[in-house]
């Protein structure tokens, strides 16, 4: 999978300004890797200092959690998925202490920032109502389908396909359920970049 290393020649991040067109900002992939590795190693060390002998499952969890939190803190709350990751990590009480330990001194700031993002609750309601509406509309569409010409039918099928896949993607990207499509695409970009970096670093770690 060397393409992952070579293809990570750029990562895009879109400016968050509401006015004006968003511009992708290029970020050096090796810098990102360095940053990630730094944070991750620190986080791991913090974890291992807390608890010496962990069984394999715990270690697995620790590895992943520390990696996630490391990258999320690197993003510093600019991206939605990072906020969602932190929020997920700090939600369960048993994880919370560990997560806070990993994050270190800046954990309070981060957690505060994450919690102040009011994206979850209001969007949940919106999404629930949207889903109800969609379901009612889809049942109406099904009735009409027989009399509809082929072009429109193909369109409907394509739309359904896209909707389904978007839904799947939303479930994959952390925090994706509460976004609209545009932000979902941005978040996916960022998240893919992060996953690549994670895979590269971890793979090189295993081979040493």
């Amino acid at each position: 999978m060397h393409h992952s290393v070579s293809c990570l020649s750029y990562t895009w991040s879109f400016s968050r300004s509401s006015d004006g067109p968003t511009e992708p900002r290029m970020r050096n992939p090796s810098l990102i890797k360095e940053e990630f590795l730094k944070r991750w190693i620190i986080a791991l060390r913090r974890c291992t200092s807390l608890k010496k002998n962990m069984n394999i499952l715990e270690r697995n969890k620790v590895v992943k959690l520390s990696a996630d939190l490391a990258m999320a803190s690197a993003r510093n709350g600019t991206t939605s998925w990072s906020r969602a990751l932190i929020a997920n990590a700090t939600r369960d009480n048993d994880n919370r202490i560990l997560a806070e330990q990993i994050l270190g001194p800046e954990s309070e700031i981060l957690v505060k920032r994450v919690s102040t993002m009011p994206f979850k609750t209001c969007n949940r309601r919106k999404i629930r109502s949207k889903r109800i509406l969609k379901r009612s509309c889809s049942s109406a569409i099904r009735r009409v389908r027989k009399t509809v010409p082929r072009k429109v039918l193909a369109n409907c099928i394509a739309k359904r396909l896209i909707q389904k896949r978007t839904h799947i993607l939303k479930s994959l990207v952390p925090g994706g359920e509460f976004m609209d499509e545009t932000t979902l695409m941005e978040e996916t970009l960022d998240y893919i970049a992060y996953l690549r970096v994670q895979v590269d670093v971890m793979r090189s770690c295993t081979y040493c």
Binding site: L44, R59, K64, A67, L172, E186, L189, A193, R196
Partner: protein, 435 residues
């Protein structure tokens, strides 16, 4: 009222002054009608030019009558003006200051003209735009054929959206439109096409070929005439013009732009076109990456029971090829510092090289933890100094790490360290850090 536009066109087709005048008057009526319909901004349709029109346009510009016509059109309410029916001479009655506007509308099929068109109804600064357009118009006199060859139909909409200008084909598209304005537009378009088929002077212009060349030019011009606080959206010809569909279109274009970036990032996405296929690829890719992460983390957990990673080896394998051999000397780098990193290296080194004295490990790790949370302070230097005695190749390794992590220079790192017994130094440093 919704019949006004085609009626006007019918009236205007009366005077047999030539095809160019009918084109002009068609444009005029459109502008009138646009002024009339305040909520929708309706761009002037330009027909593909014929070679014969070029000279006429120049004459018109010179005369100023076209400008007068347009002013009249803009300021007065629309009625099938008898003056218009009689043809050109009557129009000279009306005076218009902004000649540039008229010339622009007539001369160019570019975005600038349309921006002009719409800005007037938006009570923008006319002289400003006119001044902008006038030189453009002059420049365009030389090559109107190209400009006129592209048929553009659009609307502008006041919203904070991205501005896009599109050229479409000459032939009117009979898309179904909801509102009566669109109905009028369609009928107007059909009228124009009938007029065009009547005029068979020269239709050899490669209209569609010019469109792509024009769009770029138009886009650039659109940006320069744009008002600063609005981002205009232009509907394509033959498309819905209500706010919802425009917003929807902008949203769709944003999404497609993001998809292009994703296409670059996700391997194998180039072969698939279309949203569904690309989404599928993206989903597969994300899932595969997540599975890889899971697998690798499990592997790491099994291989490394204590989860200590040898950073030295990591760098030795040149994970970061950007790392160059030159390491900053003392006092060079004043970049961001992270004191914890300083501690990792010696700690790691101790663990790796120093025979794994368990008694050392725990205080080391605890000290490490403390130093990670502690701010940058001088005791770190002692800590480093003590540790580096044990390193086999301290300089290169140290240099790499320094370079990598942008270590702060005022840590006081020096390559040569006094030799001290290992355990004693550790305890000494621990004590220092605990203070």
């Amino acid at each position: 009222m919704n019949r006004a536009l085609p009626e006007m066109l019918h009236c205007l087709s009366g005077p047999g002054n030539g095809t160019d005048i009918t084109v002009l008057e068609r444009q005029r009526t459109r502008v009138k009608w646009q002024h009339q319909e305040q909520q929708n901004y309706f761009g002037v349709f330009l027909e593909p030019s014929q070679a014969g029109q070029v000279g006429n346009f120049q004459d018109l510009v010179g005369d100023g009558r076209c400008g007068s016509v347009l002013r009249h059109v803009v300021t007065h309410s629309v009625k099938p003006d008898p003056g218009l029916e009689n043809g050109w001479p009557e129009l000279g009655r009306y005076e218009l200051p902004d000649l540039g506007f008229g010339s622009a509308v007539l001369m160019n099929g570019s975005a600038a003209g349309f921006e002009m068109n719409s800005t007037i109804t938006r009570t923008s600064s006319c002289p400003h735009t006119e001044a902008q357009v006038a030189p453009e118009a002059k420049g365009k006199v030389s090559e109107p054929a190209e400009k006129m060859s592209s048929t553009v139909g659009r609307e502008s909409y006041k919203k904070r959206k991205a501005d896009k200008v599109q050229n479409t084909k000459v032939v009117a598209e009979d898309d179904a439109k909801d509102k009566r304005s669109k109905v009028c537009a369609e009928e107007g378009e059909s009228k124009i096409t009938t007029e065009q088929t009547r005029t068979k002077n020269t239709t050899t212009h490669p209209n569609n070929r010019e469109t792509s060349a024009d769009t770029s030019r138009e886009n650039s011009k659109a940006s320069e005439v744009q008002k600063p606080d609005y981002i205009h959206v232009r509907a394509r010809r033959g498309q819905a013009t209500d706010s919802h569909s425009l917003a929807e279109r902008v949203r769709r274009e944003k999404i497609s732009e993001r998809m292009k970036y994703l296409q670059d990032l996700v391997p194998g996405c180039n072969k698939v076109t279309g949203k569904a296929g690309m989404l599928d690829e993206i989903i597969n890719y994300v899932q595969s990456l997540q599975r890889q992460v899971e697998f690798l983390s499990m592997k790491l957990a099994t291989v490394n029971p204590r989860l200590d990673f040898n950073i030295e080896d990591l760098f030795a394998k040149e994970i970061f090829p950007a790392c160059s051999a030159n390491f900053p000397t003392i006092g060079s780098s004043s970049e961001m510092t992270n004191p914890a990193y300083l501690q990792i290296n010696p700690a790691q080194q101790m663990v790796a090289c120093c025979g794994l004295e368990m008694g050392v490990n725990t205080p080391d790790l605890m000290a490490l933890r403390r130093t990670i949370s502690a701010p940058v302070s001088l005791p770190e230097t002692y800590f480093d100094a003590s540790c580096f005695t044990q390193l086999q190749p301290p300089s290169t390794w140290d240099a790499d790490l320094q370079n990598l992590f942008n270590l702060d220079s005022n840590q006081g790192r020096s390559i040569s360290f006094p030799s001290q017994p290992f355990t004693g130094s550790i305890e000494a440093s621990n004590l220092k850090m605990e203070t």
